[in-house]
Symmetry: C2
Subunit: 259 residues, 2 copies
């Protein structure tokens, strides 16, 4: 295959499972991205992971052979910070999350506190989650704090297998507080997609999303009316019954099959 099958000008790529797996580029990914860019397509990268900064992602992509800048990357940390800045700029927040998310929130003007005297509890994938954080979140909710979260994923694939993701932290806080997370900004929320489309500078009708997770990448693309490409190089297996149900515009073995 040597021609781009879809005419869209804006291309959004999921990262884990689509562009790379752990530290290894999916074979052909650099050629596909290069070919798209060579034909004038705009490319951006989407991740639900709040564990790294956009600069970290750009550096990793560049190191693996896909030149990228932080502005090419949209992850759930930056989307949460931008979205919360529209709802309650500068608010005091308590964060169940790791330093890159805390840094992003501080960079957007939020007052990140370690006590429950806050207006929001921000819940993220947090490998340092513990009982003390759960208790602070509970006390914050009892004082009226609202809940917002980065991403709904149950688990995160790693080289050593799947590990607990943000759904665990969300469930714990909701269970003890009786409160519900109002907004989850990451995929499949339209919020992250709207930020990504603004990054690309293209309308929905001229954009395509390429991803390996049918329940996030494809569901979200369908919801907003983008063209959707499912790659089978990550989580979703070829026989998955949801493929027939959701009918992505294209199903390919990997990103290499796009050009």
């Amino acid at each position: 295959m040597t021609t781009v099958r879809l005419p869209q000008r804006g291309w959004l790529f999921d990262l884990d499972g689509t562009v790379y797996l752990g530290e290894a580029l999916i074979p052909g990914a650099a050629d596909t991205i290069g070919a798209l860019r060579a034909t004038g397509r705009r490319v951006a990268f989407l991740s639900n992971k709040p564990l790294y900064t956009r600069a970290d992602y750009a550096a990793k992509l560049t190191r693996l052979g896909i030149p990228a800048t932080p502005d090419d990357v949209v992850n759930s940390s930056i989307v949460l910070a931008r979205h919360l800045a529209t709802l309650d700029p500068g608010a005091p927040v308590f964060v169940i999350g790791e330093p890159p998310l805390i840094g992003e929130l501080e960079a957007h003007g939020f007052e990140v506190r370690r006590d429950p005297h806050v207006r929001w509890v921000v819940i993220a994938f947090d490998r340092t989650f513990d009982y003390a954080k759960l208790n602070t979140a509970l006390q914050a909710v009892r004082r009226g704090a609202r809940l917002i979260a980065t991403n709904p994923d149950r688990t995160c694939p790693t080289d050593e297998g799947e590990i607990p993701d943000c759904a665990g932290m969300i469930a714990a806080v909701e269970a003890v507080s009786g409160a519900h997370v109002e907004t989850i900004v990451g995929k499949p929320s339209p919020i992250i997609l709207e930020v990504a489309l603004a990054t690309l500078g293209v309308p929905v009708s001229d954009a395509v999303i390429v991803g390996d997770r049918i329940e996030t990448d494809i569901v979200m693309g369908k919801r907003l009316g983008l063209a959707t490409v499912l790659v089978l190089s990550g989580i979703t297996r070829p026989g998955d019954p949801r493929i027939a149900e959701l009918r992505p515009d294209l199903v390919v073995d990997s990103i290499a099959d796009l050009v």
Copy 2:
């Protein structure tokens, strides 16, 4: 009031909120228990908390003026250990829980492990809960481990307010693993009540449960057909609509009003 209003021979008392509040005995509790015992009633104490041993509870009750032995106390740790011993004696288990529960499980012959190579994940109220334990639980479920828990409480009242209880740990494990807890042995489960009735040596028809939580103490008593007494010295407030709905046999301000 100077007469026992209910004729039952076996009396089960919830502890927190019913017999004491934190470190303070509810006024009149020692007199009521003493009067019941003086008329030949059997008395046992029930707690959903897996944080202490039965000996700890007996020592506390004795110190506060209600002489008690470990055999007078039934808490969710001992009930879980006994129940699991009937299901899978000596099984390797991973425990999200504190040392008194681990000790109870070891005393019942279980192999308590710190890795995911187990047949059961035991989930309890655990103030040392953290991401590493959540991850070990996930890996254990992925290897086929089953889930069992001590108690369903969202929060636990303390002198400093409510803190996260076992529901937080259960929700986190269920959310990331996609598995469900098969059995929660504590109130309102009939399992803890059956152990308590065996301790008293009386049939259901000759037993009464006295507690401050309508959703656990009273629900459980109604389910098994015991007489039920709601005390308003703890969590449940007088205007609670569930009182009219569930209709405990008796509603009193406190344990002092029982004799």
